[in-house]
Point group: C2
Chain length 217, copies 2
């Protein structure tokens, strides 16, 4: 069974939890609070020298980093992975877009405005850039979604999961999605997928055995 | 035959040219000078709404963007693509690392210090961040290369091609690789690979037919 090092409120970690939930794949979750330095301990750095979550133990002592590489790995052979060569490449295209155009801007705004107390005052200079570039990325997504239900292969894939991670928290960090109707419709479409769980989701005591495994109980 | 929209001095474009050269795959190259706005024309934006190079036409009217997604696509079924599921995921891990830790820092420094006249004066504030984060990324690479000849699968893969693109221009934009001996040895290893071409490489009039195709002649 997979062991996932993850932070509940991290969009990058949530992507992996969402994919595993949609795939109905059990895993053991270990909460790592990066705000408390738990990803910078010698023990964690031995597993991931980049000191980041999520991190997936795929075999005893073998760890995979980078949220989108983890998504790719867990999706192999499942409906979340496109089948044809060009569809796979187009899914990857959107996943690389996510990591250089969306996550560094909306992800950074979310981190400093929503997670870090007083973060807004620390980052006033950078915020303007994040907003401008974040809106530019949203516009590229909106244009695509005007005539596509999903990002690749005409179906829900790991590309949608990757992009959902930070797009769905955009309204928690000053982004206004009013003028992006196709994005809002797509967010709802993802949320209606079988197995969908929210970022805040944690299983209660009445949860099914698998759900309790998810929480590391 | 592939049609590649590329800028000679762009590290992201060079990655694709390097992979195609190593694979001995012929292609037609079309030079797009982003400094002259050639990636922002209506004609180009119709092909790639993100307005970026490289861009690969994989079939009549079907275009693939994002350098690393293009690398993945052209490498399918070749020795540059790892075979096993975990090796493939580890190659992707390094390719995502390249796009969020290396390219936004060394790539940005290269663009403003080496390509844009007067760029250094425009970017004095950002430069400090790029240097700090760029050196952090180089240290992660150095640590890996201390006991690995390549980044994934124990052989030259698209992960090496992706990382080579901007690492090899680090010394053109203030980065000092003196204290990164494993990176310097790896750079040489990549340069000794069969089919290797430099970023500046352009075929002369005596070039083989395939090489002239590369130049779009």
């Amino acid at each position: 069974m997979y062991k996932l090092y993850s932070m509940q409120r991290s969009g990058n970690s949530y992507k992996v939890r969402l994919a595993l939930a949609v795939l109905n794949t059990p895993y053991e979750a270990i909460e790592i609070d990066i705000l408390r330095g738990e990803s910078r301990t010698p023990d964690f750095l031995a597993k991931n020298p980049s000191g980041q979550v999520p991190l997936l133990e795929v075999a005893e002592g073998r760890h995979l980093a980078e949220s989108n590489a983890i998504l790719w790995y867990v999706a192999v052979g499942t409906p979340l992975a496109p089948e044809s060569r060009i569809d796979r490449a187009e899914a990857l295209q959107w996943m690389f877009f996510e990591q250089h155009a969306l996550e560094p801007n909306i992800g950074a705004a979310y981190f400093w405005l929503s997670l870090v107390k007083g973060g807004r005052d620390l980052q006033t200079h950078a915020l303007e850039d994040w907003m401008e570039r974040g809106y530019a990325a949203l516009q590229v997504m909106e244009n695509h979604l005007k005539d596509h239900a999903y990002f690749a292969a005409g179906q829900l894939t790991v590309a949608d999961i990757a992009l959902y991670g930070y797009t769905h928290v955009a309204d928690r960090c000053d982004f206004d999605l009013t003028t992006f109707p196709s994005i809002r419709a797509w967010l709802k479409r993802v949320e209606q997928s079988p197995g969908f769980v929210s970022m805040d989701w944690q299983p209660g005591p009445e949860a099914e055995p698998q759900a309790r495994l998810v929480a590391g109980l």
